[in-house]
């Protein structure tokens, strides 16, 4: 079992009435709410938390990419990953990832990931998300009809740039380069492990399985609601005749650990509530540009993670409902151990990513949560998948338990 510490880097200082006064945390939240002094401090706070997670024994550190987003202050996860390469020495650096279609040419991703792989001495996991509609279609202006096509082409270019021994010409529909020949090349051979963060689209499951990549479902709605998606993924794996190695899968879960169940509510509820009510407050019109999801996926009836319908569901939530519905696994170490084991087993997930900094949670509380999780929970779930080999772990990373 691999356990990674995931950070979204949220702005912690949105006003109390944010979700009443402003339509969206993403795409058009006004600058008047942004204090650069505070954000500078936040970056250091967040990096301290990530570095602490390595010391605490986490196997990997996850960063990701968002744009125009008050809950994700990381337009460039590569910058954060780069600083982590200097201040950590053991954990995998999991960049989840670079939205390929947004880079022009996408070779920039091949180059920067190669740099990160070298700087970290082979600890990089290369994540390639399509990117959310808010990030790609609205913040970056990419036409939804061609987004996926651009993504697939960019992926092919990056993989070829990493693996083909010769200088070659790439005549793509969206990118044409006469001399592809990136210097530097990544350290890991044939290339860093590839993880694909997805939101539950049918095509992504099959594509990921065919290419033998890790599929990561980055849901904010917990393991109970995530089960249908992960079941769909495992069915796609079975259809394609691949093995059911749990390390093919990654899943993000929000977790809060305290000395007792009651203490968990007292410590964490305001921050969890901040996350669900403010950080996920996305205007319906931005939730999904027309054409972002394919018709095939629309026909499965799944809804976007944000937007009017999701907001309506979230508004009625109190602490008990967050827990009952599995959005957050929270409570005493014993409570968390039991539910997290259920999460890992029911989703069959070998790469668990936990979100321990949630919403407005300040650093001292994050470190408390991280420390308790690492000491009281992690050792008890480490061996769940001990019979399986993780073929998708970076060669230069050493797991927190020394393996």
């Amino acid at each position: 079992m691999k356990i990674c510490f995931f950070h979204l880097m949220p702005y912690r200082f949105l006003p109390d009435d944010f979700e009443q006064r402003y339509r969206s945390v993403w795409v058009d939240p006004p600058h008047s709410l942004f204090d650069p002094e505070k954000c500078g401090d936040l970056y250091h706070e967040f990096l301290d938390e990530l570095e602490f997670a390595e010391q605490a024994g986490f196997d990997g550190l996850c960063v990701n990419e968002h744009h125009n987003n008050a809950y994700g202050l990381m337009p460039s996860p590569n910058l954060m990953a780069a600083t982590l390469t200097r201040r950590t020495s053991r954990a995998a650096i999991v960049v989840l990832g670079n939205s390929l279609a947004a880079y022009n040419p996408p070779l920039r991703v091949a180059e920067e990931f190669a740099m990160l792989d070298l700087l970290s001495r082979g600890r990089l996991v290369a994540g390639f998300p399509v990117g959310t509609s808010m990030d790609m279609n609205f913040a970056y202006g990419i036409d939804p009809a061609t987004l996926r096509d651009r993504y697939y082409e960019a992926h092919d270019l990056v993989l070829q740039a990493w693996t083909r021994p010769e200088v070659f010409a790439f005549n793509g529909k969206y990118t044409q380069v006469r001399y592809v020949n990136i210097w530097p090349q990544p350290l890991q051979k044939p290339h860093p492990p590839v993880w694909i963060p997805g939101g539950g689209s049918v095509e992504t499951w099959e594509w990921t399985a065919k290419l033998d990549y890790v599929y990561c479902y980055l849901s904010y709605y917990g393991y109970k609601r995530g089960k249908a998606t992960m079941d769909g993924f495992w069915e796609a794996i079975a259809r394609l005749g691949a093995d059911d190695n749990p390390y093919r899968a990654g899943f993000l879960q929000l977790v809060c650990v305290a000395d007792t169940d009651a203490e968990a509510e007292r410590l964490y509820f305001p921050h969890v509530h901040y996350f669900y009510q403010k950080c996920l407050n996305v205007w319906e019109g931005f939730a999904e540009a027309p054409g972002y999801r394919t018709v095939k996926t629309l026909q499965t009836g799944t809804k976007p993670q944000v937007g009017a319908q999701a907001k309506k569901i979230r508004q009625s939530l109190d602490w008990q409902k967050y827990l009952d519905q599995g959005y957050v696994i929270a409570g005493s170490p014993a409570t968390v151990r039991q539910q997290l084991t259920e999460c890992i087993r029911s989703l069959r997930v070998g790469h668990l990513m936990v979100l321990l900094q949630i919403g407005s949670m300040p650093k001292d509380l994050v470190l408390h949560n991280t420390d308790l999780f690492a000491r009281e929970v992690m050792p008890h779930v480490r061996d769940v998948w001990s019979g399986y080999k993780d073929r998708w772990w970076p060669a230069g990373a050493v797991a927190g338990n020394g393996q």
């Binding site: 202006g141 036409d143 019109g285 027309p290 054409g291 009836g301």
Partner: protein
Amino acid sequence: MTPDDRTLDLRDGDVRFRVLSAGRGEPLVYFHSFHERGGWSPFLDRLAGRYTVHAPLHPGVQGSGGVETLDDVLDLVLAYDELLDRLGIGAAHLVGHFFGGMVAAELAATLRARATKLVLISPLGLWRDDAPSADLLILPHEDLPAVLFRDPASEVARRWATLPEGDNENVAAQIESVQRRAAMAKFVWPIPDRGLRKRLHRISAPTLVLWGDADRANPVVYAEEWQRRVKGAALSLVPGGHMVLHEAPDAAAAAVAEFLAT
């Protein structure tokens, strides 16, 4: 009037047009926009009294296909060029609303001989930073009537806003709406400016710019912009909102017919 409903394959089926046709007289081709749900309308009925009206559905919309093979506006214009050949039309009156107006203008500017006369109804395709047109592609359904119609409480607006009640029909209608908007978004995302302004001087067909005087989606300042850029273009303001064709089909059709007849 029930129009004739045909599907025509071009390019060995790579592009497929569903075309609704009715009427008699000189040919007139109508290009629809995001929120007309394609198809036929009372406005087209009126025009079909004097012209042979062909209303092709945009590729990707309700039976027309192949939008994935059309990468840009030029590809789209050439597909329509081939469609006109297929319909046996040399030149026709080209009429379009909003997105369809942009398509008609592109066609008339690129292939001048195709346009006898050109009618642009609140066309898209120009951009002014000081007066952006509404982001109609993404506005939630319940917010649209107030932007599209002069009077969102009117019968026509309420009929437009009503989605089917049955679960399956409702989902199908929503998916159809997404597909329709996605197929057109490809040619105007994220800003509806593909350089048409550089081509407008080429338009040689007599042109009418028609606008709903209370258009909240595409501000009337654009009417002046179009008039300035298309030499000799006439302007007609009809009482109505952005969906003036549907709100005032008689007045709109009369204005168009008068222009085409002179």
